[in-house]
């Protein structure tokens, strides 16, 4: 197998088109529906002073983090410039999360400058409670929630969700948890938490059909720096779906590398050959028929 030569530096045009694709936000119907429903539910929870939550489950690369960002943006939008908006807390969990770690993350999200000199759970929880009482945040958004349930950690997951449950009840704080389908195990681990966070939304990968076609049309419109008419051809639609399995992150990755290939040409039109080279760079070099964009002969 011969590995083609790749320039060490990407040209400014290539970087510009890559940036354009990376920043592209396509609001497809399911995504928009979940976003609006989450915002509406949170507002209702705040009005009713009811402790409840929302679980968002999606495969990696389907836009969970983006969804939380959009919810946050929506909830912190001020109708009146002089109005002081209540904050929205955002916490991103990492591996082996436990009650100490979530309390520490919540502390930092609430704006404490540092952790206590000896960070024990009692003092951190007390500080979190005091800050929530003082600031009255609208909602707690938790990204990467699947880390609570990953591995053989049922007891820890129960403890973490119990800690959350107490905060939800005590302060009427709505919680939105987003994670991969692994997080669904929480339904078996802590029924009390799930009874409060009973709304569950699932973002599935795109099936090949009208939705996929509409998505590709929107992507084509969003990429203005190169001519990406190829994306709308039936062959390309089918091939891209087969390669990316309807996953947005994979699609973006492939398109970024393919666009870089054609960005420097005098007439920047996306071709099948660009997609082939883009596939190589995005998913590793594959020789011959292993690369679906490979052209025989």
């Amino acid at each position: 197998m011969t590995i083609p030569e790749i320039p060490l530096d990407t040209s400014p045009k290539g970087v510009a088109v890559a940036r354009q694709i990376l920043d592209l936000v396509v609001q497809y119907p399911d995504f928009e529906r979940i976003q609006n429903a989450s915002v509406a539910s949170t507002n209702l929870m705040l009005q009713l002073k009811m402790s409840t939550g929302i679980l968002v489950l999606a495969e990696p690369g389907m836009g969970k983090t983006l969804l939380l960002e959009l919810i946050q943006r929506n909830l912190t939008r001020k109708d009146n410039v002089l109005e002081k908006a209540s904050p929205v807390l955002t916490v991103s969990l990492d591996s082996a999360v436990d009650t100490h770690k979530i309390a520490a993350k919540a502390m930092m999200a609430l704006g404490y400058p540092m952790l206590p000199s000896r960070p024990n759970l009692e003092s951190m929880t007390l500080m979190v409670d005091r800050a929530i009482e003082r600031l009255g945040p609208k909602v707690l958004l938790i990204d990467e929630s699947q880390h609570m349930c990953e591995g053989n950690r049922d007891i820890t997951a129960r403890a973490v969700t119990d800690w959350l449950k107490v905060r939800m009840d005590k302060h009427n704080l709505p919680v939105v948890c987003a994670g991969t389908p692994t997080f669904e195990r929480i339904c078996d681990i802590n029924e009390q938490f799930v009874s409060r966070a009973s709304t569950k939304y699932v973002l599935n990968p795109f099936a090949f059909g009208d939705g996929w076609v509409q998505l590709m049309q929107a992507v084509k419109v969003g990429i203005s720096l190169i001519e990406a008419g190829l994306l709308e051809t039936p062959w390309c639609l089918k091939m891209l779906h087969a390669v990316t399995h309807g996953n947005l992150r994979r699609l973006k990755k492939l398109l970024i590398y393919a666009s870089i290939e054609c960005a420097d040409r005098e007439n920047p039109i996306l071709t099948r050959d660009d997609l082939r080279r883009g596939f190589d760079r995005a998913f590793g070099f594959k020789e011959g028929p292993e690369n679906p964009f490979y052209v025989r002969g």
Partner: protein, 296 residues
């Protein structure tokens, strides 16, 4: 009050949300101690957050107006926090050496206290007047202010966050507890110690309590003069030989009964703890006596 430079503030940013409100006659140092306790920050950590130099010690007199306003902003405190104390202390220190007006020990703020005021406080705190050299009487009770702990002879010196456990030093639960011996500052005066000493003698063989511990069962910290931790254990406690004791020291294979007390403990400290036990005992007896009988 707006601070645009907040995000580059002391290499960190954020707010001290858990800060308690100050009492009207509270000294700034005392309030800062309670702010530290509410956040479990050591004094050096708080100074780092507030962008103060590590050598800074005195919040009563050394803060500029700008620095004080920043503290109020970060703690969400109202502008009149400790206003009387700050105004009076800075007015008195103006143009004069503050060391001649305010009591200090090795540049750390030092306080006298009124035992009756501390006894009456639900949340004990130090008044700014107790810092003044000339003030030796309590303005509320007209009682003489104490300067040394009745049990161990230690002073109240705010060189560290007393209610935060850092390093080998253990935390005191409130400002009415002596930082050296862990006894209440409103304990018996020094001239009555002998009387208590007599009373305590049989106490050395009281039940299983032969050694000194603080109330949660932890080891009492070393005094300010001797920073090495000193451990006391209940004689009835059993620890496996070779395992780590509560202080983290791995024990040698030795019979506990012979090894106790493991660390050198002064007679004075033993007495201090014993006095505390007596006080506790007396309070319990008093409480039982005053308890209404069912059916009366």
């Amino acid at each position: 009050m707006e601070f645009g430079h907040l995000h580059s503030f002391g290499s960190t940013s954020g707010f001290l949300h858990a800060s308690p409100p100050a009492f009207s006659d509270e000294s700034p140092n005392s309030w800062i101690q309670r702010v530290c306790a509410a956040h479990q920050y050591s004094l050096s950590r708080l100074k780092f957050i507030l962008d103060l130099t590590p050598s800074f010690t005195d919040f009563d007199a050394d803060l500029t107006q700008g620095e004080w306003e920043r503290i109020l902003y970060l703690t969400h405190a109202p502008p009149d926090t400790c206003a009387s104390g700050r105004a009076s202390l800075s007015a008195q220190c103006e143009g004069l050496s503050k060391h001649s007006l305010l009591i200090a020990q090795r540049s750390a703020p030092k306080y006298r206290w009124c035992t009756l005021c501390l006894e009456a406080d639900v949340l004990p705190y130090l008044r700014w007047r107790w810092r003044l050299t000339q003030v030796t009487l309590c303005e509320v009770h007209f009682a003489p202010l104490s300067e040394i702990c009745g049990c161990c002879g230690g002073v109240v010196s705010l060189s560290a966050a007393l209610m935060v456990a850092t390093g080998p030093r253990h935390a005191v639960p409130s400002l009415s507890i002596c930082q050296h011996c862990g006894m209440f500052l409103m304990g018996p005066p020094v001239d009555q110690v002998e009387h208590f000493q007599e009373a305590i003698r049989p106490g050395r063989v009281w039940g299983v309590v032969k050694f000194l511990m603080n109330e949660p069962g932890e080891c009492i910290a070393g005094s300010g003069r001797n920073r090495s931790p000193r451990a006391f254990y209940l004689a009835g406690s059993t620890f496996e030989t070779g395992s780590a004791d509560p202080m983290g020291h791995v024990r040698k294979k030795k019979a506990w009964s012979k090894a106790i007390p493991r660390y050198k403990v002064s007679e004075r400290q033993k007495l201090a703890y014993a006095l505390r036990l007596v006080r506790k005992e007396l309070r319990t007896v008093e409480a039982i006596e005053t308890m209404p009988t069912v059916g009366q």
